[in-house]
Amino acid sequence: MFENLTSRITTVFTSLKRKGYLSEKDVDNAIRDIRRALLQADVNFQVVKEFCQNIKQQAVGERVYKSLRPGDVVVKIVHDQLVELLGQEYSPLKLSGMPPVIMLVGLQGSGKTTTAAKLANSLTKQNYKPLLSACDNRRPAASEQLEILAQKNQIDFNPVDPLSALKSAEKAVEIARKKYLNPVILDTAGRLHIEHQLMEELKDIKSKLNPSDILLVVDAMTGQDAVNLAESFNKELGLTGIILTKLDGDTRGGAALSIRQVTGVPIKYVGTGEKIDDLMQFYPKRMASRILGMGDIVSLVEKAQEVTEQEDAEKFARKLRKMTFTLDDFLQQLQNVKKLGPLENVLSMLPGGMSGLKNDAEISDKQLAKVEAIIRSMTIEERNNPKIINVSRKNRIARGSGNKIVEVTKLIKQFENTKKMMKKMMGKQQKSFSHLTKKFN
C-alpha cells in the first residue's frame, strides 16, 4: 500500500500530462494528490501546507490555463519548488580556525559517531590530517566506539575525559595544535533538544572553541518531529549544516525537505550505510530529481568514475544512458558495480521505476556472483545476442556455471526485461522532463 513518493508523484504527473486542458479543478486535484504524497513521505505538515499554497498560487496564474501543455507547467512549478526547498547549490564545509573545529550534534542514535569517522576518513582523502575527539561521556563505550573506528582507518584519536565534554574537546584542540592536525572533529553525546542543561554543555564548547562548522546529524527516517529538533538545535547553537543519515533504507526522506525549509541551514552530506565510505556530498538538485523519479544517475556516474578508469567510466555512462549494453557489457560492468558498494545502494540511485527492482528481483550480492558465473559460461556470441541461446546451449551454460537451467533462463529473461524497462523509463523521462534537464546539469 505504501508506494514511494517518487512513484506517487510520477503518477500524478502522468495523469496531468495526458490532459491538453486543465481546469482549476484539475489543478486542485493534482495539488491534493501531491499534498498526500508529501505527507506520506514524512514531509512536515506545515511545510506541506506552505508548499501546496505556493504551487497553487503559481499554478492559478495565467500561464497554466493558457499554456498548450498545462501539465508540464505544473510539473515544472513543483520541481522548482522542491529544489527551492532543498537549497540551490552544494555547500562545502567552512573549515576555518587554527585548527578548524567541527562539532557534530544531534539526538541519541542519529549516527554522530559513525558520521564523525566517515567525515574524518573523507577529509583524509583530501589530504587533511583530522583528529577525532570523543566528547561523549554519557553513553556506555561511546569513546571506545570512536576509537575503534579511528584505529581501523588510521585516524588520530583523542579519548573522552569521563568528567567533562568540554575538557575532552579542549584537550583535543591542544593536541591538534602540537601535532599539526586539522580539523578537530568533536563527537558529542546524543541529547534531546529540550534538555536545557545538556544544551548548555554544547553552548559552552561553542563559546570556548568557536567551531567553524556545527553540524546537526539527523536520521533520515525521522517523521514530523524533525522540524522541532532542528529548530531547537539551530536556535541554541546556530547550525552551519545538516547531515542526513541512513538514506540507504527505503525512507522517503521528507525530513530533508522539512529541515531545510524550516531552518534555512543547508544539508551538506548524506550517510548511505554503516561502512566508512558510505558518506556522500549532498546535491540538492539531484535529491529533487530523485524525489521526482528521475533517479540519481549523476551521482551514480560520479561514483563509477571514482572506481573505474576514465575511459571505462565514460563508456559506462554512455551505455547506461543509451541502454545499449549487452550481457558482455553487463559482465564487465558487474566488476565495476561491485566496487561501487552494495548493490542496494546502487539500485536506489536509478530512476524511479527502477527502484521496484530492488524488491521484486531480490538482487543480492551473492546472486550477482551467480549471474557472473552464468555469463562467464556463455560464448561471446551468446552474450551479444542472447536470442540464439537454445535448449542445448542453455544446458551447456548451466552445467558450466554450476546452475540449474531455469536459472539461466531466468537470467536471460530478466536481462531482456530490465533492458526493455530501462529503455521505456529513459524514453519517458527524456520526453517528459526534456524541458527540465537543461536546468539540471
Binding site: F45, Q108, G111, H193
Partner: protein
C-alpha cells in the same frame, strides 16, 4: 514522582501544548463539529505521525458528531486501536528455562539500552537473567552492553567482533540453560529492514534456537518515537523474517509522540509492550494505551 506526571511535565515543555485550548474550543458548541475543528484535529494527528491514511479515516468517522462527542469518540478509537492483546505475558517465565527475549530493530533505535532495561526490570522481579551480546558488527557494540552488565551485575555472554551472531545465541543459550537462568535477553545488531543479507541472519538465529527446542522466543522490535511512517515498513519487513511479538517505543521523553505506532498496530495487530522514557536503566515502563493517547493531545 509517577512516570506519567514526569512525562506530562516533559511534554508540556514543548511548544505544541494543545490540551487546554482544545478542551475549551471543543466544549463550547453543541452544533455539528466545524470544519476548522476537524482541521485542527487533523493537524494534531498528522503532526504526531499517524499518517494521512489513518488520519483521514479517523476524521471522517467523527465529522457528523458534535464537538465534545467527536473528541471523545476520537480518543476512544485511538485507544481501541492500541488495545491489542499480547500473545503471551513476557513476565511469566516458561517452564523450560530459559525464556528467550530477542531485541531487534533498525540502527540506533535503542536496542542495547532496552536490553539492559529489561534485564533490570526482570531482575527486580527476582528473576535470574542473562544478556547475550550478539551485536558483533557495530564498533564497541559489545562493550556497550558489557558496561551495563558490569554496572548492574548481569550475567553476560559475548562473541567476537565480525563473528557469527547465531553462534553467540548458541553459546549463550547453552550457558543460560546450564546455569538455570530464567530469562536470556539477546541484543542484536541494528540493521535496516531493506538489507536482505543482514535480515537473513535472523533465520540463522531462529534455526539455532529451534535446534535447542526453544520454539517460543519472544521477539521485541524497537521503534524510535521520532520515526515517521517508515516505521510501518520496518515492522512489516522485520515481521517477515522473525515473528514480531511486541514493540518497544523508545525516546518518548522527547517531543516526538510516537504516533507511527497507530498505523503499525492498526495494520499489524502487534501490541506495544514497553516504552523508553530516558537513558537511565529505570526509564522504562509498561505501555498504557489510555495514557499514550492522552499524550497525543497534551
Amino acid at each position: 514522582m509517577n512516570f506519567w506526571n514526569q512525562i506530562n511535565q516533559k511534554l508540556s515543555k514543548t511548544r505544541n501544548n494543545f490540551s487546554s485550548r482544545i478542551k475549551e474550543t471543543f466544549s463550547r458548541s453543541t452544533d455539528k463539529i466545524s470544519q476548522e475543528q476537524l482541521e485542527e484535529l487533523e493537524e494534531i494527528l498528522l503532526l504526531a505521525d499517524l499518517g494521512p491514511d489513518l488520519t483521514d479515516y479517523l476524521i471522517s468517522e467523527i465529522k457528523n458528531e458534535n464537538p465534545q462527542d467527536g473528541l471523545t469518540k476520537l480518543q476512544q478509537q485511538l485507544t481501541d486501536i492500541l488495545k491489542v492483546d499480547a500473545a503471551e505475558d513476557v513476565l511469566i517465565p516458561t517452564s523450560d528455562k530459559p525464556k528467550v527475549i530477542l531485541i531487534a530493530g533498525v540502527n540506533g533505535t535503542g536496542k542495547t539500552t532496552s536490553a539492559a532495561k529489561i534485564a533490570y526490570l526482570l531482575t527486580e522481579q527476582d528473576n535470574k537473567v542473562m544478556l547475550a551480546a550478539a551485536d558483533t558488527f557495530r564498533a564497541a557494540g559489545i562493550e556497550q552492553l558489557e558496561n551495563w552488565a558490569k554496572k548492574y551485575d548481569f550475567d553476560l555472554i559475548k562473541g567476537q567482533y565480525g563473528g557469527d551472531a547465531a553462534a553467540v545465541v548458541h553459546d549463550s543459550y547453552d550457558a543460560a540453560h546450564s546455569r538455570n537462568v530464567d530469562y536470556l535477553i539477546i541484543d542484536t545488531a541494528g540493521r535496516l529492514h531493506t538489507k536482505k543479507n543482514l535480515m537473513n541472519e535472523f533465520n540463522k538465529i531462529q534455526k539455532v534456537l529451534n535446534n535447542k527446542n526453544c520454539h517460543r522466543c519472544h521477539n521485541l522490535l524497537v521503534l524510535d518515537a521520532t520515526v515517521g511512517l517508515n516505521g510501518l515498513q520496518q515492522v512489516q519487513i522485520f515481521n517477515q523474517y522473525i515473528p514480531v511479538h511486541g514493540l518497544i517505543v523508545t525516546k518518548l521523553d522527547g517531543t516526538a509522540k510516537g504516533g507511527c505506532v497507530f498505523p503499525v498496530v492498526h495494520q499489524m495487530r502487534i501490541p506495544v509492550q514497553f516504552i523508553g522514557v530516558g537513558e537511565g536503566i529505570e526509564d522504562f515502563q509498561f505501555f498504557d494505551p489510555e495514557k499514550f493517547v492522552r499524550g497525543l493531545f497534551n
